[in-house]
């Protein structure tokens, strides 16, 4: 497996080192944040000298060294989990059920559990560092019991910090799924790592403080109602007693202790900040541009060269970094461009250019095909319920004459394309048709490899070149749906075309089924986002191609680019047409809501706009460079007409 090896070298030689370096830096930065935490936790305005002495003594004590080692272990673990779970293609849930599926996926549960446990560990460290009444879990009861014996009592303050750590850890990992925290996006501009880190540090601090505030609020509420359960369990399992003289904490007066709340907030902030920092450093290190050689004199290095690496499938980040490198070299580096345009010796074949252009063109063709088939599916299956504009209404009423009037919500919803497809995902045999539309995990037990299906479909796969007939598209998933869906959660059978009248069970769906049906409704624009989930790769491919073509006007001595110019132009124009059509769909052109302050990267939500702009710029780049020379390029009449619009600056 030569191909697999060539992906492996990258993971071993580059990715692991980058991840290790990022973890090492976050461990190195841990003392600074710990010191800040200690100072904040001992804060007293009236006794600054004593505060200072306290801080120094705490920082130099043996206990704090031990807890520091423990914290370093936690950071390493967090870094490892980040490395294991990161992705460059965001997983976008097309419906609420799909999101639930993501949350309940075993892999995800493991992730949450690990974070919960680590949160408890950090909570313990915080409690030990703060000292005073928080330091120990148990203490000697002040009163003797009836037999006159002394007992160990449970220190509820300590327990509170432990539980809070666990809660914050859990909620952090759950929120991470919703906000796509594990999605690694590539920056708009290249900057040195230190400057990147410096720029993102205030954001991390702000986010962790805000997030900690909400987490603590939720935790306090939860503890107020359910706090007695863990307390009783703790007492029972460790055979501790409750101090009857102490005030129980799950009461209003117990929880309305300002210093307690402040410490809870500070420790939650500290926990989140150290984890966010690890995440940020990981993102910065792993997305750093990597310069692949264009060609090498040694054959054993050939798999590490750009043309080979571009066609790799795994790991995905390798392909992304290669495309990024292509886009950078095409803009900034004349000497590397000349290698791309060079001919092989001996033979005189432009192997480098051929491989690069072929890979980029197949990426574009793949996206075009994905868009076209999505558009056909939408056109034949109708749109979401809320929209009933002219032509669309006609198609939907064609397929479901009577139910349109009945407006039975569950059955009507069935017509949304993704819900049709989602069902067939869970049906076992993965229909190849589903891959482009549902990169999310519908069922908790669907294989995680589904995510990779958003990556370009290779020509060997059954989906490549599939018949794009609306009949096939319409029928195939629906046949599956009738059997599987009712099987799975008893919801009404879907296909309105095959069922002229609703079955009795569909007229009275159970509450749970109804609930699920409602949640299964398409989130607005989510399917559009999912289509463009890996749009960054296409953006780089477009950039790289167009800059190379622009440079070829003056730098390409052998005319290697000229031979591919017609196919480049026609594939760009085809994509342009498909993108234009896609943006005419409802929700496709609606802007996502500006996200509130969060470290989760929302850049995937706007990738389709970025792609549209880049595509236009790329075509303009070629037309302005070549100008009237383009009339000599072999193109179909339709494309020629379209190109004329670009030449006249009318697009």
């Amino acid at each position: 497996m030569f191909a697999a090896d060539s992906g492996c070298w990258f993971t071993q030689k580059v990715l692991c080192w980058r991840a290790a370096a990022s973890v090492a830096w976050s461990v190195l930065l841990l003392p600074a944040s710990t010191a800040a935490f200690v100072v904040l936790s001992k804060l007293s305005v009236l006794h600054p000298v004593q505060m200072f002495a306290d801080c120094v003594s705490v920082l130099l004590s043996a206990g704090s060294v031990f807890s520091f080692v423990l914290l370093a272990g936690v950071i390493i673990m967090v870094g490892f989990l980040t490395f294991e779970y990161y992705t460059v293609i965001p997983s976008i849930a097309c419906s609420k059920v799909a999101l639930l599926g993501q949350l309940l996926h075993p892999r995800q549960l493991l992730y949450c559990l690990a974070h919960g446990v680590m949160g408890v560990v950090v909570g313990w460290s915080c409690a030990v560092t703060i000292g005073y009444r928080y330091e120990r879990l148990a203490y000697l009861c002040p009163q003797k019991d009836r037999d006159g014996l002394l007992h160990m009592c449970l220190n509820e303050h300590h327990l509170l910090l432990l539980l809070e750590g666990g809660f914050v850890g859990l909620s952090h990992s759950l929120l991470g799924v919703i906000q796509n925290l594990n999605y690694v996006s590539f920056g708009t501009v290249q900057q040195h790592k230190y400057l990147c880190f410096k720029a993102s540090l205030p954001l991390a601090a702000k986010c962790s403080a805000a997030q900690a505030f909400y987490s603590v609020r939720n935790f306090v509420l939860l503890y107020f109602f359910l706090g007695h359960i863990p307390r009783a369990w703790m007492c029972k399992s460790l055979s501790l007693h409750l101090d009857s003289s102490a005030h129980p904490l799950d009461s209003i007066s117990g929880l309305l202790d300002l210093s307690l709340l402040y410490l809870l907030w500070i420790s939650a902030t500290y926990l989140l900040f150290s984890w966010y920092m690890t995440l940020l450093l990981f993102r910065i290190f792993v997305t750093e541009a990597y310069s692949f050689p264009v060609q090498s004199t040694f054959t054993e290095e050939a798999p590490q060269c750009l043309p080979k690496v571009l066609s790799e499938k795994q790991p995905m980040i390798l392909k992304f970094l290669a495309l990024q490198d292509l886009s950078l070299l095409s803009q900034h580096s004349p000497s590397r461009r000349s290698q791309v345009f060079s001919l092989s010796q001996p033979g005189g074949h432009p192997h480098n250019w051929n491989a690069i252009s072929k890979e980029c063109l197949s990426l574009l063709a793949d996206l075009t095909q994905r868009l076209v088939s999505y558009h056909e599916t939408v056109a034949t299956n109708g749109r979401t319920k809320s929209l009933s504009s002219g032509s669309d209404r006609k198609t939907s009423s064609e397929s479901s004459g009577t139910e349109d009037l009945a407006s039975c919500r569950p059955t009507f919803l069935m017509k949304t394309p993704a819900s049709v497809f989602l069902r067939s995902v869970g049906a076992g045999p993965q229909s190849p048709l589903t891959s482009p539309f549902t990169p999310d995990l519908d069922s908790p037990f669907a294989s995680p490899t589904l995510r990779q299906l958003t990556s370009p479909v290779d020509p060997g796969s059954p989906w490549h070149g599939v018949v794009q007939s609306p009949h096939v598209m319409r029928r195939a998933p629906k046949l599956w749906s009738t059997s599987t869906d009712s099987q799975r959660n008893g919801s009404p059978p879907a296909s309105p075309a095959t069922l002229p009248t609703p079955k009795p069970e569909s007229s009275k769906p159970s509450f749970l089924a109804q609930f699920f049906q409602n949640r299964r409704e398409q989130l607005p624009e989510a399917s559009s986002q999912a289509l463009f989930a890996d749009g960054q790769a296409h953006i780089w491919a477009l950039d790289g191609l167009s800059y190379l073509v622009q440079a070829s006007f003056t730098e390409d001595q052998f005319g290697v680019v000229q031979t591919t110019l017609p196919s480049i132009l026609s594939s760009m124009l085809l994509l342009q047409e498909a993108v234009d059509r896609h943006f005419k769909l409802p929700h496709a052109s609606s802007k996502p809501v500006r996200s509130t302050i969060s470290l989760g990267d929302s850049s995937h939500k706007t990738l389709r706009f970025a792609l549209r702009a880049t595509l236009k710029t790329a075509i303009y780049r070629i037309t302005t460079t070549f100008g009237a020379h383009l009339h000599a390029v072999q193109l179909s009449a339709e494309h020629r007409k379209r190109l004329q619009h670009f030449l006249e600056y009318k697009e």
Partner: protein, 514 residues
Amino acid sequence: MCSLTLFPPPLPDGQTTLCESNNELLSGSNTQNASPMSLHFPRESLKLHSRTESSSKAAFLDHSETLWMRSAAAWRDGGLPGLLNEITDSNSEVPKWLAVGSGCILALLRWISSFHSSLFPHLTLSSEDMIAEFSQVLNWSDCVVRAFAWHPHTDKFAVALLDESIKIYNPKSTTTPTLKHRLQRNVAAMQWKPLCASALAVACQNCVLVWHVDPCSLSARPSSSCAQVLSHPCHAPVTSIAWSPSGALLLSASPMDTSMMVWDVAAESCVPLQRVGGGGVTFLSWSPDGSHVLASTPSALFRVWETRMWTCERWPCLKGRCQSGCWSPDGSRLLFAVEGETVIYALTFAGAPDISTSSLKGPQAAAVVADLSETTFHTEDGDLIVGGEIQSLAWDPRGERLAVLLKGDPQVTNRPAIIAVFKTRTSPIFELLPCGFVQGEPGVEPRLMQFHPNFQHGALLTVCWSSGRIAHVPFYFLTSAVPLVGLSGSPSLLHPLERPADFASQSLFTELLS
């Protein structure tokens, strides 16, 4: 070295510059139809807002509200200082300790901010004054045409007017779309996106607007949904914007913000590039090859960014801030003018973007290439003083003509603002030769100028005059880059007799001399 003495004398009163042909500037006295293409926006035709936002508060009667409501409103309007001010003012209603405490905090805040603004005096200016101070337009607040932008590829242009509207003129279409937006106030600069037909970025008082004006649309009033709003807290007023020549990124600068923003316009996201020194960013200019960006600050310091890894070189000036700058077409040479000085400096960059290290080997010091100190010309109508500080610089896209807008002195009648044009050559060596002055109707001064980005027959300078007229001054010449010049005959060779004193042959600056 006084460069202006070598210039041909200014025109007598009543004459306006029409064009350059055969190596000399032609003038005419018929001002009414000097150029059929010129546009005129008389001040009276514009409906102006007579009041400003802040002044409207006094027009309403005071109405007693509860302290809570007033505090909330003060917090919303003026932030923390506003809240403290409100509490201090209503000391009869609040506890004494609160009023005293907030008064103390307010005094502390004021002391800190006065300390801060003593470091950076521009921070005390109001938004409008700040735009007027740092704009490339002469006397911006009084200008009818506040900004002007040629489209980089076609013959259309956008004009921002005093009444906060933008008009787009296209010779190929009869409709002139008028752009209006709620947030489009105090337009300081405009620029069309390169490699795009429709996108126009507008620097406004509180944000950057990016209009998408479909060139095929027949609508005369595109709705405000065609505009993207790019705003970032504390990044206002925006005084300068610059698109990257590849059309991928948009830079915006504000004198209030120490970081300049790199916008990904499609995603509406930005990356702040922060450097604290200087106290803000006032003017941006992206080199035509895309490799460098000039960013000047309100202090005597400017930076030249390199756009690959976004590192910067600091260039401290001796006297004042960098007022204006322009790049040669190949991006290897930067000309700039410093406030308080009457010279043009040049910096040369080794334009080798291929080296793997991000920091480019730059020059060690700037060279003076032209001295524009005051010169008295004796004309028929009396003495005319020309020269002084420089408002803005513009270099034509072929690198053959350099236009310099001189500030002049409004107090002195015979020292008007004037545009001096130089002939330049960038290869094989950099040379500067006098060309002449561009003058308008009597009593009208130039406010704003820009070269057409792709004029076929030489260079086309568009000048916006204080009367509201926009005139185009073509410079017809054969570019020296074309090797066949000798065969077809350079205009100067064909007509060598017409001028007794051939100013054009007297070089002001060459690299061989310096």
